[in-house]
Symmetry: C2
Subunit: 449 residues, 2 copies
Amino acid sequence: MKISTDLLIVGGGPAGAVVAGTAKKYYPEKKILILKEKETGVIPCGIPYMVSSLAKPEDNIMSLTPLEKSGIEIKVDKAISLDKMEKKVTGHSNDEYFYEKLVLAIGSKPMIPPVAGIELENIFPIKKDFNYLSDMMNKLKKSQNVLILGGGFIGVEFADELASSEEKKNIYLVEMMPQILSFSFDDEFASLARGKLESKGVKIMTDIKVKEFSGRQTVEKATLSDGSILDIDAVVGGIGDVPNTELAREAGIDIGRGKGIWTDEYMRTSASSVFAVGDCAGKRDFFTRKDAPVKLASVATAEARIAGTNLYELKSIHQIHGTIGVFSTYIDGLVMGSAGLTENAAKTENFDFVTGESEVTDKHPGKMPGCSKIKIKLIFSKDSGILIGGQVAGSFSAGEIINIISMAIEKHFTASEMETFQMATHPYLTPPPTKYHLVIAAQDALKKL
Amino acid sequence: MKISTDLLIVGGGPAGAVVAGTAKKYYPEKKILILKEKETGVIPCGIPYMVSSLAKPEDNIMSLTPLEKSGIEIKVDKAISLDKMEKKVTGHSNDEYFYEKLVLAIGSKPMIPPVAGIELENIFPIKKDFNYLSDMMNKLKKSQNVLILGGGFIGVEFADELASSEEKKNIYLVEMMPQILSFSFDDEFASLARGKLESKGVKIMTDIKVKEFSGRQTVEKATLSDGSILDIDAVVGGIGDVPNTELAREAGIDIGRGKGIWTDEYMRTSASSVFAVGDCAGKRDFFTRKDAPVKLASVATAEARIAGTNLYELKSIHQIHGTIGVFSTYIDGLVMGSAGLTENAAKTENFDFVTGESEVTDKHPGKMPGCSKIKIKLIFSKDSGILIGGQVAGSFSAGEIINIISMAIEKHFTASEMETFQMATHPYLTPPPTKYHLVIAAQDALKKL
C-alpha cells in the first residue's frame, strides 16, 4: 500500500513523540504519521524502576494516546529502507510511506560486549521493548544471583532496585573502570553512591571485566578477568548503547564522527527534508565540540523540540551550543546529579581550572525535621572564571539543583556571578542564605582564582 | 573607652555575619569588629518554625561562634550615633569605636499599624530578639484564640505552624487585600495556599482590616472593619518591616526614595568609607529601577558578599542589576515559590506580556511512589520574549525550581531558550523529559508570542 503524509516520524519513543507534539503546535495543518516498531512502548528512564519501585511493569508503559487524540496517526511498522530521492520509507509490512518531511527518531540499541557466552539465556541487554522487559522482570524476580554488567547509571539503578526487591538476592555489579559512575562523577561523589549500594548488600567489583559467561542453555557462571568465578542465574547488561544508523547509512545519509547521524544545529541531516533527533543523532560536546556519547531522553526531547519547530522554516534561532550532559540519579534516598565536565574530564581535556566545594545542611536551622547534608562541587575555568561543570549529592532538592547548575553552564555564569546569585532560601527547603550551597562553593573557588 | 578597628560592622544578623566572613577571606590582615545589639540572635527565616517544627526555641539561635573562632571580634553594644567625619561610632555603653571602613547592617523593625489598642499585652510584632520571641512562643502556646495580622509569608507560615501545634486553637488570619500572599502570587497560586490553610482549620478573612484591639491589660477582642468582633488571646503581627535608618539619617547619610539607606551598586553609601547592606539599605527593582520593598535574608547576604568583597577596592565587577525578589514558602507539604513579577505586578507596571502555564507530575511515570503535581506559570515580555517572572507550586523540588527561574530571569532567558533548556530528568525527581515543567510552560507561552 502507498501511504502519503506530510510529516513522517520514524520512531515512537520520547523523541518521536515530542517531534509530533511540537510539529502539531507549529504546523497544525500538516498531516503527521508516526511509525513505531512495537505496539507497546516503555518510558526509557523508568526501566530500572519496573523492578521494584513500580507496582507492575505496565506502570511504565509510554502511551501515545494523547497524540492520537490530537489527530496524529500512529502505525506499528518497522522502517526497513529509505529512498531520499523518492522521499519514501518502506516498512517491514511492505507499505510505502511518502513524506514531505521525514524525522528519524530511531534511537539506539544496547551495546553487546564481545564476551564469550554473551548469547546464553537470562543475559539481558536493556532493550526498550515492553514484552521483552516484562519477561526479563519475571526472570529477575526468580533469580537468586544477579550480575550487573556496567556501573553507569543504568547498572547502578538496577542494583539499587534489585537490592530493594522483596526476594533476597546476591547482586554483583561489575565495572571495568576503577570506580562506578566515573564518567559523570569524581571519586568523592561516586564513592557516596558506592557506599550506599554496598550498605544495601550489593557486591561492587571495579577495575575488573567479565572474561566469559558459561552454562548449558541458561547462564550459570561468570569468569572474571582475575580468574574468579561467580555462580549466577541472570545478567543485566548496562554498558551503554549505540546509535541506530543503518537506515540512514544505507540511504546514503552522512554519519558523523561519533557514530550518530550527522546533523546541523537545526537537526537537519545531509539529505534534504530529512531530520534526525535523539539517540540516533550525533551530539557535539558543549565545551570542546568533540563527539559527546550522551544518550539521554532529556537531550533527545530538546532536539525533538528544535526539529519540530523548524521543520518547514527556521522559525526559532536555536543556539544549541552543544550537549552539556546533565544527569541525575536516585539511590535509596541519595540523590546525585552531574552537569558538564567532571574534574577528571576537565583534566583529560586539558582545561586550566579551579574547583569550589561546599557541604552544608539542606534545611535550616540544622534542627529542622528531616534535615540532611548536601554536597556540591563546582568547576570553573581559571582565567575566565566561567563555570564548566558541577556535581551534587543530597536529598530530593538535588534533582533540581543540578538543573540550576546546567543553566549556569549554558549561560556562562562566572564564579563571581554565582557568589551573588539571587536565590530564595527557606527553612524547610534550602540551606540558610548565609550558606547557600552554590554560593559557598563559588566563594571557595574564588579564593583560588 | 576608645576602641580602634579596621572594619567595623554594626549588626550581627545574617548580613553582618556574611560581611564579616567575606571580608575575612578577602582582607585577612584587617581587624574586624562586629557590634551586635542583643547577646543572643535568631535566624530570621526560622522564626515561625519556633512555634512547632523546631523542638525548642533555642534551636533557632544564630551562632556567631565560627566567626569568633576565625579571629573576628564580637561585642554586644547598641550603636547610638555615627560621626562620619571622625569615622567613629558611639555605643550605648559610651564606648567609642573608630573605623577605617564601616558597614551598616542594622536591619529593619516591624511596622506597627496605626490601630487603636495596638499597645496591649499579648500583641506581638515580630522582633528579631531571642528572649522576646521565647516569651512570645510561651504565650502563644497558652493562647486559645490567635489573630494573625497580615497574610504575607510570615503570617501564612505562623498560621500553618500554629495550626500544627499540639494544643487546638482558633486561628484567624486577617488580610486587608482581597487575597493572601498577593504581592508574590497570582490568585490561582495563592488560592492553593489558602485552601491548604483552610483545610487545617485556619479562618482566613480577606479584604478586611482590624479597626481596634481592646482589653484591659491584655488583648481580649478585635473589632474588624465590617463591625464583627473576635474574641482573642493573642495577636501575631506580620504586616512587614521598615528599614532602620536613624543612625545613618542623623549622621547626614543620604536616604533613598524607598526609605532605605541609599547605596551605589557596590553598597557604598553617600559617606566615604561607609557601606550599608541588608534590610536597612534601599533596593532597586530589577525590572523598573523603582524601589523594591523586599526584605529578605537571601538578598541581604548577596549584598553583604558584594560589600565584603569590595570594601577596600572594587575587586569584583558586580552587576547586581537590581533586586529580583525570589521567595519560597512551605505550607504543610505544599511548597510555593515566586520570582520576579507576578501577572498582576506586570499589569500594574504596564508590561506587554504573555504567560505560559504547565501542570505536570513531579515524578515519572505517574505511578512512581510519592508522585504529586507541580504547577508552573512563567511570564514573558511579549516582544522580546524575555522571562520576567515565574511562580511554582508543588512538592519539595519546587524550592529549587524557583531558583532556576530566578537564574533564568537574571540571565534574560527567552521562552525559546527555555523550550530547549538542557536539564536532567529522572523518574524519582522530575517530570518526564517530554513534559519538563519549565519547558512545557515556555512552549505554552511561545504559542502566544
